[in-house]
């Protein structure tokens, strides 16, 4: 459907994807009405620092915002904040907001994001039990980040481990509980898991794997301990749950859009309704470098789908689809991930984990499909390109640190 004469565009959600789409629409020459509806009170902001520098108090709040308030005014973007969208009426092209207001759209972009998976145990509603998703969450957690306090983190994914690193650096006693037999089990290889476990332990974090939380105990409405299924009781002044996120698909589902783990989209971020797009954590999309669809929880994905949606609406050529990439900062370790490692049949380690500078490559049938690079930008950046071209790379070369990544990339390109 040609939407290039659209004169009313509505975005639901105010995160990275929405901020990008708004920017791309205006920079792309769209001059019509542009309205962003967000349920948080803050201007659109970046989330990655929340579990890193911002949580540590090293990053001023003002720096989180993509644009100052004046930008939205100057660029004719109406912000409706602290407000939920409650219904999409596709037949009349109307979005209903809580408190009864309505917005008519020619094109609609759903950037509804995700929410933390709730802790499914007794005591999850006690005071000082937190999630970490938004600015307001960190502002609630931070007063409790006091030297000597005991923090129990449920879930050893990236959020849990980043928070553990920050809390240790702020002098808290930190225990991380993980149900699986290793940290980061859902996203990375045993080699990387072992490395991060060792690093966190070296920094004084207690990591308990294979640990099933039974319930949380409290007194006077505040949490006092986490109790494991085997009866172990861990005293806690605060608990942080980081057990994954759930995509916010309800609005789309109730409107009858196709759902496939997330809101199903095509390569242009278009949903099953040609006037409606979805971008970011809430959307599932074709992963063109992998030949299947999937939902990505990342900055790269939010930015890219925001751009794809804007381009499709404006009738511009489809922007490039990058290979998925991610990063995580813990202590002085910068982890950069390119690609998706699911389905690998070979793992190659380059460099020495003990030197805190190494990379783990994932191959399938000799083709590079992903890399986890710790303090190793060349490995990350070279791999990103090789993954996008579907290149076969010789494992012996990857292993050999005397051959530069540039030379490896050049050899792979001509192979």
């Amino acid at each position: 459907m040609d939407l290039s004469d659209a004169s009313q565009i509505v975005l639901i959600g105010g995160g990275q994807a929405a901020a990008q789409a708004v920017q791309s629409l205006r920079m792309g020459g769209y001059t019509g009405k542009l309205t962003l509806v967000g349920d948080e009170p803050a201007l659109p902001y970046q989330r990655p620092p929340l579990s890193k520098a911002y949580m540590k108090g090293e990053f001023a709040e003002e720096r989180l915002f993509f644009k100052p308030a004046a930008w939205y005014e100057d660029n004719g973007v109406e912000l409706i904040l602290s407000t939920r969208a409650t219904k999409i009426d596709r037949a009349t092209q109307i979005v209903e907001l809580e408190h009864g207001a309505t917005l008519t759209y020619d094109a609609l972009i759903l950037c509804t994001g995700s929410r933390p998976r709730p802790l499914p145990v007794k005591g999850a509603d006690l005071g000082n039990v937190f999630d970490l998703r938004g600015l307001a969450d960190v502002d609630r957690i931070q007063p409790n980040m006091v030297t000597g306090r005991r923090m129990v983190i449920i879930g050893a994914g990236y959020i849990g481990l980043e928070a553990a690193a920050v809390a240790r650096q702020m002098g808290l006693e930190v225990t991380v509980l993980e149900m699986a037999d290793r940290v980061l089990a859902r996203v990375t290889s045993p080699t990387m898991s072992a490395f991060y476990e060792k690093e966190h332990r070296a920094h004084g974090v207690t990591i308990l794997t294979g640990a099933r939380l039974d319930h949380l105990e409290g007194e006077n409405g505040k949490v006092t301990a986490a109790v494991l299924a085997d009866g172990t009781k861990l005293p806690a002044d605060l608990v942080l749950a980081g057990i994954g996120i759930l995509p916010n698909i309800e609005l789309a589902r109730d409107a009858g859009l196709t759902i496939d783990n997330g809101i199903a989209t095509d390569r242009d971020a278009r949903t099953s309704d040609p006037r409606i797009f979805a971008a970011g954590d809430c959307a599932s999309r074709p992963l063109v470098h992998y030949g299947h669809t999937g939902r990505l929880e990342s900055v790269h994905n939010a930015i890219e789908q925001g751009k794809l949606a804007a381009a499709a609406i404006l009738g511009k050529p489809r922007p490039p689809e990058d290979c998925p990439w991610f990063w995580s900062d813990q202590y002085d370790l910068k982890l950069q991930i390119a690609g998706l490692n699911q389905g690998h049949d070979e793992i190659v380690v380059r460099g020495n984990p003990d030197e805190l500078k190494f990379a783990v490559f994932y191959l399938r049938n000799g083709t590079l499909i992903a890399v986890d690079a710790v303090n190793s930008p060349p490995e990350f950046l070279a791999s990103k390109k090789l993954i996008m071209t579907g290149s076969k790379v010789a494992p012996d070369m990857l292993k050999d640190t005397s051959i530069s990544m540039k030379d490896i990339a050049a050899a792979a390109a001509t192979a």
Partner: protein, 106 residues
């Protein structure tokens, strides 16, 4: 407030007022300067905020850290005066800074 001028690859100039303490990348993003993507928001994780620094300012913009150096090594069309703008902190000393953005950040 220090003024920074961003020049795109076609020679178009845009001058903005930056704040001390923010990065040259942040000043660009807040003012919608084209040619700087800065996908990672300044974490030195993506190498999409590459700029060429006016050589008169090279000794004022600070030293490159190892991480930045190795990121830049993989950027396109790197020159002697290439920097990642997220790693340059704005100060009064940088008033009048001129940086040029490359044709592409990818």
């Amino acid at each position: 407030m220090p003024k920074i001028t961003y020049i795109d690859h076609e020679g178009n100039e845009r001058t903005v007022e930056a704040k001390n303490g923010e990065s040259v990348m942040e000043a660009a993003i807040k003012n919608s300067i084209p040619g700087i993507d800065a996908d990672c928001g300044g974490a030195c994780a993506c190498a999409t905020c590459h700029v060429y620094v006016d050589t008169a300012f090279m000794d004022k913009v600070g030293e490159q850290q190892e991480m930045e150096k190795s990121m830049l090594d993989f950027a396109e069309n790197v020159q002697e005066n290439s920097r990642l703008s997220c790693q340059i902190t704005v100060s009064d000393e940088l008033d009048g800074l001129r940086v040029t953005t490359p044709e592409s950040q990818h």
